[in-house]
Symmetry: C2
Subunit: 154 residues, 2 copies
């Protein structure tokens, strides 16, 4: 992987002059995204949990009970997809489904004790991973990066 990356850089020399600097930024950005994705996949490995499940778990960590549709909103995925995610977490005993007492159409999703335990451990692992990844940067660079990303987001 790393070798390919270097080879790619080498080849880029041939045509660097015809590329805009913003185009180069895209490429760099995705390259870093890949690194970050691999890094956090490793961080999650000990729990053998899918990224989509970990994301849902993270959302549920700071809501004692959410409707399935609310969870969808937080995850930015379709309600039908959330059903599957919730199925998976329930199979693993990490969450409970219960009917909403105020609306018998709706389902409330909440963490089990085990879900809370695993969620906490995963959050710690993710924090540590982020620290390992972005810790390479100086304090100033991290501040700059945060500011710049803030600008790009919207």
């Amino acid at each position: 992987m790393a070798e390919d990356q270097h080879e790619k850089d080498g080849r880029a020399d041939e045509w660097r002059d015809v590329r805009t600097d913003t185009d180069r930024l895209s490429e760099l950005f995705w390259s870093v995204a890949r690194q970050l994705r691999h890094s956090s996949r490793e961080a999650l490995a000990p729990w053998d949990i899918a990224p989509s499940h970990s994301r849902a778990l993270a959302v549920l960590m700071h809501h004692q009970a959410l409707r399935l549709s609310e969870l969808s909103d937080h995850l930015h995925i379709a309600p039908r997809s959330t059903t599957d995610v919730v199925d998976g977490l329930q199979e693993r005993g990490l969450i409970d489904r219960m009917p909403d007492p105020h609306d018998r159409r709706a389902m409330l999703v909440s963490l089990t004790d085990e879900g809370h335990r695993v969620g906490t451990a995963i959050r710690a692992a993710r924090d540590a991973d982020a620290e390992r990844f972005f810790g390479l940067l100086s304090e100033d660079d991290r501040a700059d990066l945060a500011r710049i990303l803030q600008t790009l987001r919207r």
Copy 2:
């Protein structure tokens, strides 16, 4: 989508104090990645071409002929997956497959005239999109971002 983003920001206030700054950077990074992905998906829309196809096309734009396995390496995907990508591009008439004269096991993949035309147009669209996306930043910020991403990559 944009609304969800804002709502998420709002909720984040509740617990910002318990998060490390590097964790915040991860979140920001992925948020921007999402924007960038959506933006480039839109940029590609006029050609109705899948991202995986566009990536392969981009690689082929600066090699007159590649073995399928070499294309795999450039794309960082398994050879079997490359077969499918190449199938797709061939169906659309954007590339030609021909047996390697030096090794009858191997296949050489190269752009057709149409493939070259479409590849060029897509590159222009992607450049324009990158410019639109990163153009929000000052010259200095772009330089800083490039430098910082460079540091993070590897």
